[in-house]
């Protein structure tokens, strides 16, 4: 039931809540099953449409949330007559449920949630079968509910290759948020990429329990560098640890957007994401009445996620080696996540000859050999 190795307060509370709720409401008919209203998502006129965006952080972060906001701007440009709603910095609490319910109350036709709110969001979507929901990094689907994410592990592996080549000691540092699958996948892809070119490579992780905490991120970055790391990577929504790296003259790679102006000498590259095309396409489908739930969408390398242009301090040979891997992924469908892969305890998890598929990568919940500091 509750996965102790993957603790999450939300999951735990939900479980308790579901158990209690199910026993109370199970036979009363008060619970509307999510299948209700299948096919009710018909076409909508542009002037009647209300497109809502709920974000986890501030849109001024120049990172994750700003990329989603750029998506909204693109949708607005494509469908100027529709009405738009946007709310920032929604906490992972019952406030999230209230916020999304507010969207429904304001007649939203399509709701994008730019972070995983899980059951906090499901509670709203289950009772609003005529509203289309899209959850970024989500894990459940329904007739009015789809999730989407990017195959960030591909560019991350490429960044790992660059890190492995640029690090002298092989000690890499990673500023993480929570021990959740997207973080496991990112850390693992980074470590595997580095190890493919530098057998000494190891990755030390510090979790700061937030996606957006400039102060925690800069302290974590400092602690990693003090501990001997000579390359920093992380999965933060902002650029704080890049500033630490710049001050210390250590290379660092980032997430989300091009933030090289905050550390021009240190900036290596970034795992950049771009939702504009995807959001416009989904909105078009919703207006035309062709949008469907039950979809699990992972945007591939080159279409929504990629590495950014290399930073000024990245040597030519590093660029070439890393880009060769990227080209192989794009042209030959190269999948570097092939056995044998051991976990951080040294146990073989993926046997030689086996390959991890997209869903296995998306739901990765153990750390590979060479990663320390990430609870498994």
């Amino acid at each position: 039931m509750f996965d102790l190795k993957n603790p999450s307060r939300r999951k735990f509370l939900t479980m308790a809540g579901t158990a209690a709720g199910a026993s109370l409401l199970g036979n009363t008919g008060l619970v509307v099953p999510s299948a209700y209203g299948a096919g009710a998502l018909g076409a909508v006129k542009e002037e009647d449409a209300v497109i809502a965006f709920g974000h986890v952080g501030p849109i001024s972060d120049e990172g994750w949330t700003s990329t989603h906001h750029d998506g909204l701007v693109a949708v607005k440009a494509a469908f100027p007559k529709a009405k738009y709603l946007e709310i920032e910095t929604i906490p992972y609490s019952a406030d999230a449920t209230r916020t999304f319910r507010q969207f429904v109350a304001e007649n939203a036709t399509l709701i994008f949630s730019s972070s995983e709110y899980g059951d906090l969001l499901a509670e709203v979507s289950n009772r609003a079968p005529k509203v289309a929901f899209m959850e970024c990094n989500g894990h459940r689907v329904a007739d009015n509910f789809s999730w989407y994410y990017v195959k960030h592990w591909m560019p991350t592996y490429v960044i790992g290759v660059a890190a492995g080549l640029m690090s002298k000691t092989g000690k890499l540092g990673y500023v993480a948020s929570f021990p959740v699958p997207s973080v496991f996948t990112s850390v693992n892809a980074f470590q595997m990429g580095a190890k493919s070119v530098n057998p000494k490579a190891t990755t030390q992780v510090i979790s700061i329990n937030s996606w957006f905490d400039p102060q925690g991120a800069s302290q974590a970055g400092t602690a990693l560098l003090d501990n001997g790391a000579d390359f920093l990577f992380g999965i933060m929504d902002e650029a704080a640890y890049l500033q630490v790296a710049e001050k210390r003259g250590i290379p660092a790679a980032m997430w989300n957007t091009d933030v090289r102006r905050y550390g021009p000498k240190s900036y290596v590259t970034s795992c950049v994401v771009d939702w504009r095309k995807f959001y416009v396409e989904q909105t078009r489908k919703r207006l035309a009445g062709t949008w469907t739930g039950n979809e699990q969408i992972l945007l591939p390398l080159g279409e929504g996620v990629d590495r950014d242009a290399w930073g000024e301090s990245v040597p030519e040979n590093v660029r070439q080696t890393a880009d060769a891997v990227r080209t192989k992924m794009l042209k030959d469908g190269f999948n570097p996540f092939a056995g044998e892969i051991k976990d951080s305890a040294g146990k073989v998890k993926i046997a030689a000859g086996e390959k991890m598929d997209d869903m296995a990568l998306y739901n990765w919940n153990w750390a590979v050999e060479g990663v320390t500091g990430l609870a498994t």
Partner: protein, 311 residues
């Protein structure tokens, strides 16, 4: 050794925030006014500093901006608590709630942006080359020297070596007697509460210009409360206050070093260290050192508004 240097370096940086706010609170509490608004003042000071340096790219101007906003809100607080004799605890809590909320809304467009300019470290010649401690002590930014050396000396001198300081303490201990002796109780209280609030806001500016360095909602993360506790722990003495702040800085940086070194403690546990430290600091001395309770006792009139009619 590298590690120790790193811990101390971060400890001074992190502790400076607490030290500055605690010094402000020492001034305020010594004249008998309990200011629970530090958290809100720090948040306001932090966002003001960021906005100021966006307009004028000079960190000193940024700190001046924080001091100014602290003066404004400090004067409002002092008007309520000193002149109108409102309940100090409630006014302090109101100031915290208003400060955190207001700073979040005016800082909305600045959240996550790195500061345009920051306080850079200044290496003091020769001294900064000392092994281990040299870098931690003598290559800090100028604010660290101000908080750990200049201000404590100034406040200590003012409070304990001057006639004016004696008046201040008299106002905090027994305002009625001070009043009878011809000391302007209200004036002294009003100004030191305002100046104290101003220092607390400057602590916020220090946080966003020297330590983090950027603004985001909730960046103060309870530091105002820790500083409030620190003042009591320090027995309302300026040097103790900054030393306590340094101890907290060490505890804070240990949390991250612990993770980097893979200490077998859960990361969530390590990040609660500063708060656990607060509780320990409050409780332990009382048990260990009975005499300290007397010596470190709060000013007798702390928290009580002064009514001349009741004299």
């Amino acid at each position: 050794m590298e590690l120790l240097t790193g811990i101390l370096f971060t400890a001074f940086l992190a502790g400076g925030v607490l030290g500055l706010a605690a010094l402000g609170e020492v001034l305020s509490e010594r004249v008998g006014v309990f200011n629970l608004g530090l958290e809100g003042l720090m948040a306001l000071g932090g966002v003001t500093a960021i906005i100021t340096v966006t307009i004028v790219p000079n960190p000193f101007v940024g700190i001046l901006g924080s001091l100014a906003i602290g003066l404004v809100f400090g004067a409002v607080f002092a008007t309520a608590t000193v002149l109108f004799r409102a309940n100090q605890v409630l006014c302090g809590l109101a100031l915290t709630i208003m400060g955190t909320g207001l700073s979040a809304s005016i800082g909305k467009n600045y959240a996550g942006h790195p500061a345009k300019v920051v306080f850079e470290g200044v290496a003091i010649p020769y001294l900064s080359d000392l092994p281990v401690l040299g870098k931690a002590f003598f290559s800090q930014n100028v604010m660290v020297y101000v908080v750990f050396i200049v201000l404590p000396i100034a406040v200590h001198f003012l409070m304990f070596k001057t006639r004016h300081g004696m008046k201040m303490r008299a106002v905090g201990e027994n305002p009625a007697a001070a009043d009878a002796a011809g000391i302007a109780v209200m004036t002294i209280r009003f100004w030191y509460v305002t100046i104290g609030a101003s220092l607390a806001a400057a602590a916020g500016g220090y946080l966003t210009l020297a330590f983090v360095p950027s603004w985001s909602e909730g960046i103060t993360a309870g530091r105002g409360w820790i500083a409030t506790a620190l003042v009591i722990f320090a027995g309302f003495r300026p040097f103790n206050a900054v030393l306590g702040a340094l101890a907290f800085g060490i505890i804070t940086s240990l949390g991250f070093v612990g993770q980097a070194r893979n200490w077998p403690i859960a990361p969530a546990m390590l990040s609660t260290l500063p708060y656990l430290g607060t509780i320990a600091f409050m409780i332990v001395p009382v048990f260990v050192w009975k005499r300290m309770q007397q010596k470190m006792a709060a000013p007798a009139a702390l928290g009580r508004p002064y009514f001349r009619d009741e004299r």
